[in-house]
Symmetry: C2
Subunit: 189 residues, 2 copies
Amino acid sequence: MSRIVAERQDVIATLAEIFREHGYDGTSLSLITEKTGLGKGSLYHFFPGGKEEMAEAVLGDIAAWFRTHIFEALRHAEDPAQALEAMFAGVDNYFRQGRRLCLMGVIAASGAHDRFARELNGYFSDWRADLAATLERAGTPKAECNPLAEEIVGGIQGALILARSLDDPGAFGRVLARLKTRCLPFPPN
Amino acid sequence: MSRIVAERQDVIATLAEIFREHGYDGTSLSLITEKTGLGKGSLYHFFPGGKEEMAEAVLGDIAAWFRTHIFEALRHAEDPAQALEAMFAGVDNYFRQGRRLCLMGVIAASGAHDRFARELNGYFSDWRADLAATLERAGTPKAECNPLAEEIVGGIQGALILARSLDDPGAFGRVLARLKTRCLPFPPN
DNA sequence: TCAAGTGTTTACCGATTGGTACAATGACTT
DNA sequence: AAGTCATTGTACCAATCGGTAAACACTTGA
């Protein structure tokens, strides 16, 4: 188990960066072989379904990461306010302070978005739902939770695009800080 | 002037929809010839630089539209609060209530983003600057204007991606409404 | 020792890519 | 009527696309 799984995991991590940087259509097999150091034979051995299966694996991996590191933390935290803090910190870290795009957003903004519609929908609706529930536990008025969660999840995506377009990663952190104050009107001292 | 310019303008409008829907890398010349009804000969007559020049023309056209319809309106409006209202209404209309993506965002989230970095930067920084100035004229505290403008411009992009990913165009309008209340704490009656 | 996987290399496939060349068309001048 | 020139259709190009096939090496348990 260990070695091949570990190697496949390494490949997935590399694939994620390639897709992030070049988009789905912009990622060619030759680019993948170059960056991973694996020939086509190996790639098709790991991913018989080709490029589409590679992207699916990457999206699944990302979804799993967010589920365990962000969403679960929101759900099971004792202190909701602290969990929200942790979410923003985790997001800032994951997206490398605005220097890294969100592959989900990249795919959503590409022509391949319908091919991965289920993954995209799951990712965003899970995040929205878990965030909304946590906001409610943190004392946010019930009617406010869903809209606010929507604003935050969307705001993060937009901030990433803005940061990249302005060539100013700091924009991400600034927006993130504003969004945080929005759901933590009384931040823990 | 009239005919060829008009036709070129029609082509650009069609190109814009193609790029929006399929992204830069996902847009092939065969797809373009199919959707526009123009052969390669005509296309390369209008755009000798090929696909890249087509995308540049489209981005330039979009930038011009926003400049005249959104940014200028912000700058020269007598009533800033009313101009802000008009901006949100114009944006909601332009993006078809969340059913249409922003090509600037699409390009920014693609591998072609560095090829059009200048256009992207200009679009977003102009929008941010004009919006911030209008916010200040509308009475927003000076230190709040730039961050708030950043949040709004980014929030619009994120809302578009969210709406598409959730397959729920309404999410766009909901986020837009929230952003509007944020810069119009005392909306005009 | 030997067979059975598990990976990997390499050559190859037809299709499509973005782009070029050029002759034919057509409208408008002169 | 001749000439000009913007526009267009078509054939063609090398390069690359995603994907397949099969021979090859390496490890592994029996």
